[in-house]
């Protein structure tokens, strides 16, 4: 009976795993919508060691993405959050910061919804002052430099103006 064959088990388990991986991990690399940067993606392509890029590191280091998503879906709940996110918007995102939880609001286009640098600085140092009832912790332990970088990153998160073409198309 095949039930006593260790080889069958190991080969079968590996083969089925590979089939599913091809379908859900490898195949998406052949989909143009997932592999072409959009115009909004270019706005998130921060130069290395720019204030925005450093701010992004502060965002990652302090786990901002545990409470804030960065994606807008074509559903009613996201109607007030700005344009619907496209796969190519994330082209330059390393690591991706889509997030999975909204203990705080979505930040995909926060630079458009709240462009004020002063507001962001105040909010990060004492969230309850600018947003009464907020459950966000204070980030007053960050240095001035880190705070400024983080704010530079946040206000850079905005969509490209309508009709803007991604770089790859301009080049054609």
């Amino acid at each position: 009976m095949f039930e006593s064959k260790l080889g069958t088990l190991m080969v079968g388990a590996t083969a089925l795993f590979i089939v599913g991986t091809l379908g859900t991990v490898i195949l998406p690399f052949t989909d143009d919508t997932m592999t072409t940067p959009t115009a909004s993606a270019e706005l998130r392509n921060f130069a290395p060691d720019s204030a925005e890029a450093r701010g992004r590191d502060v965002y990652v280091k302090n786990g901002c993405n545990t409470c804030h998503t960065q994606y807008v879906r074509p559903v009613k709940a996201d109607a007030n959050l700005g344009p619907v996110s496209q796969p190519g918007d994330y082209y330059y995102d390393t690591p991706h910061l889509l997030g999975s939880n909204r203990m705080g609001p979505d930040l995909m286009w926060i630079g458009q919804r709240q462009p004020s640098k002063d507001w962001h600085l105040k909010h990060l140092k004492d969230p309850q002052e600018t947003s009464p009832g907020s459950i966000m912790p204070a980030y007053d332990y960050l240095s001035e430099q880190e705070l400024n970088d983080l704010v530079a990153y946040l206000i850079a998160l905005k969509p490209a103006p309508e009709g803007a073409k991604p770089k790859t198309e301009e080049a054609k």
Binding site: L6, K76, P87, D93, L98, Y139
Partner: protein, 457 residues
């Protein structure tokens, strides 16, 4: 330090995992407190919410559950194959390495050294360490099975070997550095990893443990060996496809969402095979459930596993997802298979191991307290978060200001913390009872049980 006594590594893994369980669950409680009062431990970088949460998640997944699972593999595989573990010494090495790994993980995460990728937060040197340890564990277990004296491979072995093949592959795909693959592809791979860690490691080893314990605790043969094999192949075929359902309505093509949703609906097949087997085996032995704490945990775990797998496909559909996604409903769902489903299976195995080696458990009362605090605590925890999630989701649908969704779930968050505290109290009874039992004078030395109830089924 490197004992060669039989089961020494298995016991080491179990005891270590219990210590990590208390630490990781305490972090969970800190998170719950911070969600009600953000000033708790504020102003200190290494105690900030985002970092503690990573320690909690990694702690329960990779320290508590995974270490206990390796303990289970080292304990059960020699018994089902009728040989000693291939190398007890290598097993001891993996035990110390794994504990070292977790210490390094806690320190780096609290220091803000993180990849930022959910469930894959560990920095790359630690990723390599994980991969090496897991491969060593797999090597040791597969070598043991290859040298077996029992010709038949009981179904638990199938699940264990499958898991040991899948875990390293899943881990590697999920932890490819973002410098190589970032953006939406990485997000997609992130969920491939997140979902398959639960599907092809936490579920499959847990099911293997259920199939080992069930005939032992009921003293009856397994209801259907064939059904359990159907379940195995169904899980191997279907689970790996589920990742994209985490990005439903999100920035991925529609075909990819469908490729994730359809197999997740079909997962009812492997779940049903487990449930049918558990209930079929216990049929005629239900009176034993009230007497055996192990069976109580086992049956409870199976029921929560079933509910998880009914709830999961529901929330992966586009309609329900458009309301429930990003709410606290989702973390409550994530807790169900781990704390409600498979942690009880580990509890059952730990009590079983100790009863075999020590002849008895120190306190039956503490076992009951462990059970009721865990189960009632989880029910409070789960239902408060599911209700809060619905309130939160519909608040967004109505287009209210964001803060309304936070205010709406305030009272539910208090109930959640009460539930979470009870869950932790239950584990304190557990740890205390294990500690006391280990220190009891042994009444029975016979440890290795090579009876055939399990394998003859």
């Amino acid at each position: 330090m490197f004992s060669r006594a039989e089961d020494s590594a298995a016991r080491g893994f179990m005891f270590s995992s219990i210590v990590w369980l208390l630490i990781a669950m305490s972090c969970g409680l800190v998170i719950a407190a911070k969600q009600m009062a953000p000033d708790v431990f504020a102003h200190v970088p290494w105690l900030t919410y985002g970092r503690i949460r990573q320690v909690h998640v990694n702690g329960v997944l990779f320290a508590w559950m995974s270490m206990a699972y390796v303990g289970a593999l080292y304990y059960i595989i020699p018994r089902l194959t009728r040989v000693k573990l291939y190398s007890e010494k290598l097993a001891q090495v993996t035990l110390w390495l794994w504990n070292l790994l977790i210490v390094l993980a806690v320190v780096t995460l609290l220091a803000g050294m993180t990849t930022g990728v959910e469930y894959a937060e560990l920095i790359w040197p630690l990723d390599i360490m994980v991969a090496v340890i897991v491969l060593l564990v797999g090597f040791n277990c597969i070598k043991t099975v290859a040298a077996r004296k029992e010709k038949q491979l009981y179904v638990s072995i199938w699940y264990f070997i499958g898991s040991l093949i899948w875990l390293p592959l899943v881990y590697i795909v999920g932890n490819i550095p973002s410098e190589w693959i970032g953006g939406i592809q990485q997000a997609n791979m992130n969920w491939f990893y997140g979902h398959n860690a639960i599907g092809l490691w936490f579920t499959t080893v847990g099911v293997g443990m259920i199939y080992y314990l069930l005939p032992k605790l009921t003293n009856a043969p397994l209801y259907s060996h064939r059904l359990s094999m159907i379940g195995f192949w169904a899980i191997a075929t279907l689970y790996v496809w589920n990742g994209p359902h985490h990005l439903v309505n999100g920035p991925i093509p529609l075909w990819l969402m469908k490729a994730g949703i359809i197999p997740s609906l079909m997962l009812i097949i492997p779940v049903w095979s487990v449930v049918a087997n558990v209930f079929g085996t216990i049929k005629g032995h239900w009176h034993k459930v009230s007497q055996s704490i192990g069976l109580k945990f086992l049956v409870t775990g199976t029921i929560f596993y079933l509910i998880t797998c009914l709830q999961g496909p529901f929330q992966s559909l586009m309609g329900p997802s458009s309301v429930l996604k990003f709410t606290v409903w989702v973390p409550a769902h994530a807790h169900m298979p781990l704390f409600g489903g498979f942690s009880p299976v580990i509890f059952a195995l730990v009590y079983y191991m100790l009863e075999k080696s020590n002849g008895r458990i120190y306190s039956r009362g503490a076992q009951e307290a462990h059970y009721y605090f865990s189960v009632i605590g989880f029910l409070l925890f789960g239902f408060s978060m599911w209700i809060a999630g619905v309130l939160q989701g519909f608040s967004w649908v109505e287009g209210n200001p964001f803060m309304e969704s936070i205010t709406a779930m305030k009272s539910m968050m208090i109930i959640r913390s009460v539930g979470g505290t009870m869950m932790l109290i239950g584990q304190i009874f557990f740890a205390w009872n294990v500690w006391k039992t280990v220190r009891l004078p042994k009444v029975k030395a016979a440890d290795r049980d090579l009876d055939s109830t399990v394998t003859s089924a």
